[in-house]
C-alpha cells in the first residue's frame, strides 16, 4: 500500500516536472523567434535605421551615466544642436560634447544630420517615426 502511495506521488511529481518543461520549451521557442526577428532586421540593409532607435524618455535617461544624461536633456530644450551649442548649454568643452553626443547616436538615443558645414544632433520624435 505504501509503495502504491509513493508511486502515485512520484507520478504527480513527474507530471509537474513535465508541465514546467513544457512551459520552458514554449518560452525558449518564443525567445528564438524574437532573436531571429532581431537578426533579420539588423542584417537587412534596406531596413530603415530609424526603426532601431531607442526612445530617450525621462525614465530611460535615468539609466544613462550622468555625463550622457546631461547632453540628452539639453536636446529636450533645443530642437537641434551642434556640439558647440551643446557645449554652451552644458558648459563643457566642445570636443567632449561631440564625443558624448556621438555616443548617444551610436546607442540609438539621438540622430544626427549634416546641414552645410554643420553637424546637428537631435532627438528624433518617435511619434513621427511610427506614423
Amino acid at each position: 500500500m505504501k509503495v502504491e502511495l509513493l508511486l502515485a506521488k512520484l507520478v504527480d511529481e513527474l507530471n509537474l516536472v513535465n508541465q514546467k518543461l513544457g512551459s520552458l520549451i514554449e518560452l525558449n521557442e518564443k525567445m528564438l523567434k524574437t532573436r531571429e526577428k532581431f537578426l533579420r532586421v539588423g542584417s537587412d540593409k534596406n531596413h530603415s535605421r530609424t526603426e532601431l532607435k531607442l526612445e530617450p524618455d525621462v525614465m530611460s535617461l535615468l539609466s544613462l551615466p550622468p555625463s550622457l544624461r546631461k547632453t540628452a536633456m539639453v536636446l529636450y530644450k533645443l530642437e537641434k544642436a551642434t556640439a558647440e551649442d551643446l557645449a554652451r548649454e552644458t558648459r563643457r568643452l566642445r570636443p567632449v560634447e561631440s564625443a558624448y553626443a556621438n555616443q548617444l547616436v551610436r546607442m540609438g538615443y539621438l540622430s544626427k544630420k549634416r546641414e552645410g558645414r554643420e553637424v546637428y544632433f537631435y532627438i528624433e520624435s518617435p511619434m513621427e517615426i511610427r506614423k
Binding site: E55, P56, D57, V58, M59, S60, L61, L62, P66, R69, K70, M73, Y76, K77, I123, S125, P126, M127, I129, R130
Partner: protein
Amino acid sequence: MRKKVLSIHSSRGGTGKTVIATNLAAIYAIKGLNVALLDLDFRSPSLVDVFSSALKDPVRHWLNDLLDGRCKAEQALTNVSEAYGLKGKLLLGLANPAIEAIRNMIEKSRAWEVTAVKRLFSLRSRLFDDMDIDCCIIDTSPGIQYTSVNAVVSSDVSVVVATLDSLELKGLENMLVELYDAFAKRTVVLINKVFPETRAWSSDEQKILIGKMEKVLQHPVIGIIPCYCDVLQAKRTSLLAVDKPYHPFLRNLEEVAEKLESIKEENVEEDILCKAKS
C-alpha cells in the same frame, strides 16, 4: 524675480501639494508677478475644481490637448486674475478630469512621453518669451510617474512637499537622490502639516527641527508649515490667499515664496558633488 519654473512634487499623495501650489501662485500674482499655474496631475486633476468659480466659460482646451498637439498654448491657458482681483496675471492650464481623458493619459506610450517633454519645454519658452510670465508653477502627481518626472525635468527648481510620516521620509530620501540629484535639479523640501504644537515654537526651535531634517534628507528644507484644521477642512474651491489673506498658513507660505524668489538654480552639480564628497 528671475523667471523660473517651479515644480511642486511629493513622494506620496496627501501632502498638500495642490494647496501649496495654488496659494503660492496666488501670493505671487497678488504681489504683481505674472504667474502660470499648470495642473500636470493627469491622473487626479484638481485645479479645475479649485478654480471652478473663476471659470466663466466651460473649458474647451486642456493641457492634455496641448501635450497631444491638438491646440496652441494660448488656447490651453485661461487668465483668472480678474475674477480674484489680482495685480498680476494668473494663467491656468488645467488637466481634463473626465474619466476617458484620465484613461487616455494612463495609456500613453513612452514615445508619446518623449514628445510631451519636448512640448513642455516649448510651452516654457512661450510663457517666458511671448506671454510675459515671471513664474510658472507646476502641480504634479505624486511619486515617480512619467508626467511628474517630465515636470521635474522641465523645471528650474523642485519643491518637494513632505510630511513628517517616517514611511514617507524613507521614500523621499530615495527620491531625492535617485531623481532630483540624477537630473541635477535645484531641490528644496517643504515640510507641511507638521504637528500643531509647532505653531507656538520660537524661530530657534523651528531651526533645530529644520537642521535635523536637513541632516536626514541631505537637502535644504525651505520651511515648515504647521497643520491647520481649517485649511484641511476648507472648501475645495477656496483660494486661501484671496479668501483669508491673514491666515497664519499664508504667513508661513509667504516666507517660503520669498525664499523661492531668491533661490539660485546654478551650480547644482557642484553642490551635489560637494555633498557626495562630504
